[in-house]
């Protein structure tokens, strides 16, 4: 079965949930905060998405902009989490 790349899944989530389905030219490196895409409730939703979809546990000290403030950063963070805990596989929807 072909797996959708993580970055595409993250982008699809962001576009669907924060941009209401309209891409609006959000780049992979664009800051969610600076673009006004995401607020604190949005961060809660993003964390829940990562935990539920990918089976990772986001620790409190990992709730930082370096990990969560763009599609590229979320993707890199997620990849490092999945590599660190290979038993946690991406969950099917």
């Amino acid at each position: 079965m072909q797996t959708t790349p993580i970055s595409q899944q993250v982008r699809a989530f962001v576009v669907e949930n924060y941009l209401f389905g309209r891409d609006e030219g959000l780049g992979d490196e664009d800051s969610f905060l600076e673009a006004g895409v995401i607020d604190s409730t949005g961060v809660l939703e993003l964390v829940a998405f990562l935990e539920e979809r990918f089976g990772v546990k986001v620790a409190n000290d990992e709730l930082i902009t370096d990990n969560l403030d763009s599609i590229q950063k979320v993707t890199a963070y997620l990849q490092s989490k999945l590599e660190a805990a290979p038993v946690m596989q991406e969950r099917s929807r």
Binding site: L33, D39, V43, L44, E45, V47, A48, N60, I64, T65
Partner: protein
């Protein structure tokens, strides 16, 4: 005069006598001329803001044209009602007391809220108390996300980060409280042909620390232009009882006592006041930092948070959209 030398907490000093005159003129104009009402209704919580508004309205309109209202509910601190009565006694007013618990029970406020808490703390139940809190963070790179703090009947506490469903469920349920209070204030306004006074200060008004159609609703807001520390200066001048002036601000919404810092501002109100002033007056983070007792990058973070909260508050301030 160098701008840098003037940056201190003194920037927030006001002339309370002058400000009082300005506000009471505004209240008279709003109530009698613009709104054409006979007086004002004020929901008094026993906190500094609503008490100060009650004192201002009494001066502006006369105590006989002010109806103060207490709306305790099951989770209210007994102190709120006691301090509210202190305001009424000081102003020689007869308050109305409306326990809104049955309204909230009818709306299943407590039940909905408890169901939401149990999404993250399944053992939450009778005898437990809780509040939701933000971490006290000034690390510019760290997100501050809400957690729930539950005190179990034995006294043990548990702190768990909220899921979106739990957070929104708790907020949506507890917002019934502010809306039920406002409904009751408008009942008295209709009954007496009075207007409803809103009690937010500038911090709350600017940053959206209110419930839409709840405590955010009012016919006029006489202290929404004042920073929190300026409300304290005014309160002292007006003779608001010292116990009220010394009481730490609280939301009085959750069964465990919750400070406003824990719920919304993440730093002390004094620091938040200065940061908001600095941002509003174009003072650089580096210049403001020593006055606020903070690092420049922390002030920068606060400036960013203020802007972010303003974006969220746009929905709260938005006028009705008639579409298309």
């Amino acid at each position: 005069m160098g701008a840098q030398a003037a940056v201190s907490a003194d920037m927030l000093r006001i002339d309370p006598a002058l400000e009082t005159e300005r506000i009471i003129t505004g209240i008279r104009n709003a109530v009698f001329q613009q709104l054409r009402r006979k007086g004002a209704v004020i929901g008094v919580s026993g906190g500094i803001d609503s008490s100060t508004v009650a004192f201002l309205c009494a001066r502006a309109l006369g105590p006989e044209r002010v109806q103060i209202l207490f709306t305790p509910e099951a989770d209210s601190s007994p102190d709120s009602l006691r301090l509210g009565r202190l305001v009424a006694e000081s102003l020689k007013m007869r308050p109305a007391v409306e326990d809104i618990t049955p309204i909230l029970q009818g709306a299943r406020c407590y039940e909905r809220r408890d169901d939401a808490v149990r999404l993250v703390v399944p053992e939450y139940g009778p005898g437990c108390k809780f509040k939701i809190v933000l971490p006290n963070l000034l690390d510019p790179s760290q997100y501050s996300l809400f957690s729930v703090v539950v005190q179990l009947p034995g006294g043990e506490t548990r702190k768990v980060r909220l899921t979106p469903a739990a957070y929104l469920g708790i907020v949506a349920a507890t917002n019934f409280k502010q809306r039920a209070r406002k409904m009751m204030e408008y009942h008295y306004a209709d009954l007496l042909h009075f207007a409803v006074a809103g009690t937010p200060n500038l911090l709350e008004y600017d940053q959206g620390f209110f419930v839409k159609n709840g405590d955010g609703a009012a016919d006029f807001k006489p202290i929404a232009h004042l920073y929190k520390s300026q409300v304290y200066q005014l309160a002292e001048y007006l003779g608001v009882p010292e116990e009220i002036r010394r009481r730490p601000p609280t939301t009085d919404t959750y069964s465990l006592e919750q400070s406003q810092e824990e719920f919304y501002f993440t730093v002390s109100l004094e620091k938040m006041d200065l940061c908001l002033y600095g941002k509003n007056h174009g003072i650089s983070a580096a210049d403001l930092a020593p006055a606020a007792g903070m690092e420049a990058e922390q002030v920068e973070r606060m400036y960013g948070m203020i802007e972010a909260k303003r974006k969220v508050a746009r929905y709260l301030h938005a006028c009705l959209l008639v579409v298309p």
